[in-house]
Amino acid sequence: MTASVWAYSESDSAANELAYVANEIANAVGGQAVTLEMDRTRAGVSSAGEKLVLKSMSAPVDSPELAAEAMSRAAKASNPSVILVAATRQGREVAARLAAKLGAGCISEAFKLSASDRTLVGERSVYSGKLVARMSTPMPCVATVKVGSYPQLKGSEAKVEEMDVGELVPKVKRLHTTRKQVGTVDLKSAKVIVSAGRGVKKKEDLGMVEELAKLLGGALGCSRPLSSDLGWLPEEHHIGLTGVSVRPDLYLAVGISGQLQHIAGIKDSRIIAAVNTDKDAPIFQASDYGVVADLYQLIPALQKLLRARRS
């Protein structure tokens, strides 16, 4: 029997990242990579090998609760060796539920995975990114992959199979969904990221930071408080341990103190630069270039120079 490695995410870009990882692990264990989808095939999602579509006649499989139940039934029927789930907020729930249902080990938030000898080994950040832990668990097992750790697999044709998982009865009912804010960012593929932190005093001032990002041909990111506590930006902009991991050529942090949890998400950037009024801010220890300055003075000065260069 050939081993299979399953990959699932509700987000298209994360699903493509997982297809890449599944392919790597499948190659290592001599098995088949399978991209899982719920209800129907999604055009934006690539697959390294096969696509398996899980369906139920009774309910759309559109929540982490039902996705986990559908996947556990499918897993009991076809015994995959490894099930990978992207570590989004929904994905963490899917993976944890699945591991509990299967009584399997679950390595979470891995940014590097390898497989050998019926064992999955994953590396992840612990203690706010201060340390890297290597975790291992016997197969069959579940793992969540830290979003942004691997490249995305693009455009391959896959053989599609469908499986009816039977009746699904949700305990949690969705009443409605509201988008946090229109517009999406693709921080994972951005070459330049300018990130705003609490040093930015008002939501309106983010416009200035975003304009700087545009002038540099980059995207806008932020520290956790701006998205989680203040709600100035959607969570998809939030970089770090609990947000996305990024690896741009240039990461410019403005008004970010540089706590471990933030650094955990930017450590693979090629060049890190920081602007902060506090000369002792920890961000400077984690930077290639540090400017002790008020962002309200430095950003306009940078903009002026960049505009002059353009014309």
Binding site: T88, S128, L131, R134, R179, A286, Y289
Partner: protein, 256 residues
Amino acid sequence: MKVAVCVKNAIDETELRTDASGRPLLDGAATKMSTFDKNAVEEGIRIKSSHGGEVVVFTVGGVDAKKTIKEALAMGADRAVHVLAELGTLDSLGTSRALAGAIRNEGTFDVILCSEGSSDTYTGQVPPMLGEVLSLPYVGYARKIEIGAGLAKIERSLEDSVETVECGLPFVASVVSEINEPRYPTLIQIMQASKKPIAEVGAHMLGPAGLSGGNVAVVSMTAQAMERKRVMIEGTAEEAAEKLLQALIAEGVLPR
């Protein structure tokens, strides 16, 4: 309304030291209540203040966990159940089974709260696993919880959307930090907390599952390597901006 709140006594990452080879000095490391768990305790107390009832704190951990329990009691929880186990001997599934066993032993709760993830390992697995082990509805990343007659309406905060969901009581939820502002206990509350009951539970009292669930093992831990140039740029805003741009161009991360 009976509210259970799960808290973790976590290693204080800001105090954690490593030895010369980069291995963490975990023995005797300072601990504290895991950051976001304060939001879970606060939410439990708020639910009690509008619906009455009691708030019971549950923790799985070593003797050191008493201080985290006392902090939760000082914030306003009524009593605590301490499952004695050394941190690091259980994986997430083991911890959620232990919590589930301890919660079941205390009868039926209407609401069981956790935080989105702990500040030390941040796996975020225990809350959904607890929902599964207890076979209850589970809602993750709650930023607002409204409890009505037998039903809860919860706003769950996802990366780019907010879902409003409904489920029956009892339920398990994890909360995010924006749900509330945790209170600071007063000196009087801290003193009163020492009189509140803390029950200690050993593995043998948790039923057949006991403290099982050690599928995931830590192979090694090493310090995060971080080598950066740490060049500081000085001058007026105009001068510093110019120097920064030149440096970034020289690095090849900005076009000439």
